[in-house]
């Protein structure tokens, strides 16, 4: 099989992993040798027509896999064509795309072949060759195999910027049903192990521990949850996320709407990906992490454990808690401003800095980046006081028209 065909198969097999982040690792450059640099913020070198950023060369080493996960195109019983890169092919592709300035680095994953240790060893051979033989300084994200030997994990963390293990589904029962070879408890154990090593390496870097721990995944760990392949509601999904962030210091939990795949399993026939639901979950995730909302508040904004699909979760919460509004932009504390629909964290920062100089009017708010349509019903400015906060039509008025019909 020629290289181009292999690349098509093994990129196609990797595209259901949402993560393409290349940010948050330590700073490096090639002025003293090698190739590449990382400068903190990631770079999206292209965007595909699905709106997703292309920052890394995201491929599988092989899509052969002995696991039979119903949601996965690469499952053992799928009829998809199989291919396998050699270590050198992946290394040369990465270096060539990098020199063209098409990518920030590599996101390498693999189907499980033979056993977890063998698979992990193959992945490590690629990153070792890039880092040691070619002095590659770009970003490397390595998918980690949960049951692999701790020694292999240590070497993976030495070379990679980020490691990840996918939680796959929001609860143990779903995983048992759809991915019989995977185990919810083992995945958590492996994440716990990663967190401990990441934290040790970070402390060693700050000199807080006398024994020096080696470099280990400076950009931390992330994970991905598939949405809509099982019956879990949003409360369950977000509850699992909260546990993942607090328990394992996840940098990100990615939500991936279950997408129709060619050659779908009988257990999961193809259906429209719940893209709006995925979007609302990301918004809720943000509110939980950066806006001071609790899980209960977010869930209460919707109905029956599901988020409101028609409006964003902050607006949904505000509409159900109208007694807390309107908020005076010239007086309210940061925590309350963060809860006003249409105000982002940056905008709130600007409001706090600017109102020391002047009393804010609606025109000022527009200049500061406030989205006026959703914000004005909930806030008070020098020249504005909302009238229809008690109105029954407020929700209808603020609900955007449906964007597009389903693809099916």
């Amino acid at each position: 099989m020629d290289l181009l065909r292999k690349l098509e198969i093994l990129a196609d097999a990797a595209k259901y992993d949402a993560s393409c982040a290349s940010s948050g690792t330590d700073k490096r450059d090639s002025r003293k040798g090698g190739l590449g640099s990382t400068e903190g913020s990631g770079i999206c070198h292209a965007y595909a027509p699905d709106g997703r950023c292309i920052s890394l060369l995201k491929i599988l080493l092989t899509n052969a896999c002995v696991f039979d996960c119903a949601y996965c195109i690469n499952r053992a019983t799928s009829n998809t064509p199989r291919a396998r890169f050699t270590v050198d092919e992946v290394v040369q592709l990465t270096l060539d795309f990098y020199r063209r300035n098409c990518i920030e680095g590599l996101f390498l994953s693999s189907g499980i072949i033979r056993d977890p240790d063998y698979t992990m060893e193959q992945l490590i051979r690629v990153v070792r060759c890039l880092r040691v033989d070619h002095g590659f300084k770009g970003y490397i994200h390595l998918k980690t195999i949960p049951d692999a030997d701790p020694g292999l994990l240590a070497e993976a963390g030495l070379h990679a910027d980020r490691l990840s293990i996918n939680i796959e589904l929001p609860q143990a029962a779903s995983l048992a049903a759809l991915a019989p070879e995977k185990n919810f408890a083992d995945i958590h154990t492996a994440m716990g192990g990663l967190r401990t090593r990441i934290a040790d390496a970070k402390e060693a870097k700050r000199g807080e521990r006398r024994i020096r721990a080696p470099r280990f995944a400076p950009a931390g760990q992330s994970t991905q949850m598939i949405i809509g392949a099982d019956a879990s509601d949003d409360a369950t999904v977000l509850g699992t996320s909260v546990g993942l962030y607090s328990g394992y210091g996840m940098r990100r939990v990615y939500y991936s709407a279950y997408s129709p795949i060619p050659d779908a399993s009988v257990a999961l026939p193809p259906r429209a990906p719940p893209l709006v639901r995925e979007h609302r979950l990301y918004q809720a995730d943000w509110l939980l992490r950066f806006y001071g909302f609790s899980l209960d508040e977010i869930v209460a904004g919707g109905e029956g454990g599901m988020l409101d699909l028609a409006i964003d979760p902050k607006l949904a919460w505000a509409l159900k808690n109208r007694a807390d509004f309107p908020v005076d932009v010239n007086r309210a504390a940061r925590e309350m401003l963060l809860r006003v629909p249409g105000l982002g964290a940056k905008t709130v920062g600007r409001i706090l800095a600017t109102r020391r100089h002047r009393g804010l009017r609606v025109d000022d708010l527009a200049r500061l980046g406030v989205r006026l349509a959703p914000a004005l019903p909930f806030l008070v400015a020098l020249d504005h006081r909302p009238r229809m906060l008690d109105g029954a039509h407020l929700r209808a008025q603020l609900t955007p028209a449906p964007v597009q019909g389903s693809l099916f």
Binding site: L4, L7, E8, A11, D12, D29, G33, G34, L35, I43, C44, H45, A46, Y47, A48, P49, D50, G51, R52, I54, A64, C65, T77, S78, N79, D96, F97, R99, R100, N101, C102, D115, A185, H188, T189, G192, G193, T196, G243, S246, G247, Y248, D263, A264, S265, V266, L268, P269, P270, R271, A272, L275, A353, T354, H357, R358, L360, R367, L407, F408
Partner: protein, 488 residues
């Protein structure tokens, strides 16, 4: 009277700084000063050069963030940029020190928008420059920025490709890096680019394959990769085709429905050997056990560790945050303190078996932190069979309960540690038992004097227990529980 200053070039920040400083010291107000860049559109009806500054005029004082803003904003194509900066300079130097924080000031807002546009342009240059390798070897690229960013962004490409030789040509100039030094040459031409090579075909194949047709969102793509960039991006040539084909590809997938399983599935791995050791079995039982709801939020059950047959077995309360992640007992703050005190008491930790009464981490969520929650009587009861099984596997000569939870788990009764400390006790199964405080108790003592005293007492308890457990001949304490394990 209007004055005019001619700058050396479009990004002549040093020239602007010198001229602006002198003009301010000459008392020239913003409406009377025009900055002119050769070759750039703008006010060509400028007046005379400004008069020299007054000798007694002070230097204008500005905060550092004004200079940072100015350095970025001057790269904007807007001919008004220098005048706007001078306007802000005059107001800041005239006393409005915090002016830059006033994001609602129209001029400040406009300058901030300009800086933002420049940064976005720079970011897009980092992202969308595409090199092709030619003979030499040398990597060459053509790029069309919106603003005057080329000189400032050369550093990014030097840091990234320091060991290569490369050139980036733009409609204004060209940057050349020879592996050691940067030189700036005349404007380039788009049609001077080399033809596509084999590597470009691979990159286009990757772009097509990584796209998921079931998630078509072309507007999101255009927002981040506007069409004006497409003509210089090889992969963008495929975008119209990929968009056009997407609906029919998805329809075909859905119409095909579920596929029959492959009659020749990928080879299954041989099942991994499971350990038949008692501890592994116990762990497996715990994983399968019907436990309280909170246990499912813990990472894993944490079993004890140490030699089977250890003379002394320590039983703590429950794993904490670090123990939960590591899957090992006593590796967190309390465990580190325990190790230190064991060392002071000259008790070898390796010779002990350490475990907990409750095997999962019970916590409450507070923001991103997991706060320890004390197990209640029900929790203790639920985990007792596992603790008893563990004690039976280790068969120590003496068990030492650390804290009230362990004491309750081992005896089946609630009793105060403080009053039990010097007593010879028995576990519910009749094994020899002593009790002392949990090391986390020492960590919570606020007062250093009390802390020292309690630490000594804790060390003495550990030393005594170890002494009793290892003394030669018979039972650990008088009255003998040597046959205790058989009574269960």
């Amino acid at each position: 009277m209007a004055y005019s200053v001619v700058l050396a070039g479009p990004v002549d920040i040093d020239g602007w700084r010198a001229a602006a400083r002198d003009a301010w010291r000459a008392g020239i107000s913003p409406d009377r000063l025009v900055f002119h860049v050769p070759g750039e559109a703008g006010d060509l009806f400028g007046g005379e050069p400004p008069p020299p500054p007054r000798a007694d005029a002070a230097m204008p004082l500005v905060p550092r963030d004004f200079l940072a803003l100015a350095e970025v904003a001057v790269r904007h194509r807007d001919p008004a940029r220098f005048a706007l900066l001078y306007d802000v300079l005059c107001r800041i130097a005239g006393g409005a020190r915090g002016l830059l924080d006033d994001a609602a000031d129209p001029v400040v807002a406009r300058l901030r928008d300009m800086a933002k546009a420049v940064r976005r342009d720079a970011h897009k240059m980092h992202a969308f420059v595409r090199f092709t390798e030619i003979e030499g070897p040398r990597h060459v690229a053509w790029f069309e920025p919106d603003h005057y960013i080329e000189e400032a962004e050369a550093g990014f490409f030097i840091r990234r490709f320091a060991q290569l030789r490369w050139s980036i040509a733009t409609p204004r100039l060209s940057l050349h890096w020879d592996g050691a030094a940067l030189s700036i040459g005349p404007a380039g031409r788009r049609d001077a680019l080399p033809p596509p090579d084999a590597g470009e075909a691979l990159w286009r194949a990757y772009f097509g394959a990584i796209f998921n047709p079931a998630r078509l969102k072309p507007a999101a793509m255009r927002a981040e990769m506007p069409e004006k960039y497409w003509k210089n991006l090889p992969e963008a040539q495929d975008i119209p085709r990929l968009i056009a084909e997407a609906p029919s590809r998805v329809r075909a997938m859905v119409a095909a429905g579920a596929a029959a399983p492959n009659p020749n599935p990928q080879r299954r791995r041989t099942p991994m050997a499971t350990s038949t050791e008692g501890f592994a079995e116990l762990r497996a039982q715990l994983l399968a056990a019907d436990l309280p709801e909170w246990a499912s939020r813990a990472t894993q059950p944490v079993m004890g560790e140490g030699p089977v047959g250890a003379a002394l077995m320590l039983v703590g309360e429950q794993p904490g945050d670090e123990e939960d992640l590591a899957g090992r007992a006593f590796v967190g703050p309390a465990g580190r303190l325990l190790n230190a005190v064991l060392e002071e008491a000259e008790v070898p930790r390796d010779a002990l078996f350490v475990t907990n009464a409750v095997k999962h981490f019970k916590y409450t969520q507070q923001g991103r932190r997991r706060l320890h929650q004390t197990p209640d009587a029900g929790d203790i009861t639920r985990y007792r069979p596992f603790l008893r099984a563990e004690v039976a596997l280790v068969r120590p000569r003496l068990v030492l309960a650390l804290g009230a939870t362990a004491l309750r788990a081992l005896t089946g009764r609630a009793m105060p540690v403080t009053k039990s400390r010097d007593l010879h006790l028995k576990t519910a199964d009749g094994m020899d038992l002593r009790a002392t405080v949990h090391p986390s108790y020492l960590l919570r003592l606020p007062d250093a004097v009390a802390q020292r005293a309690e630490r000594q007492r804790f060390a003495a308890d550990l030393a005594r227990a170890y002494g009793e457990a290892t003394q030669t001949g018979g039972a650990a304490h008088a009255g003998g529980g040597a046959s205790g394990a058989n009574r269960s």
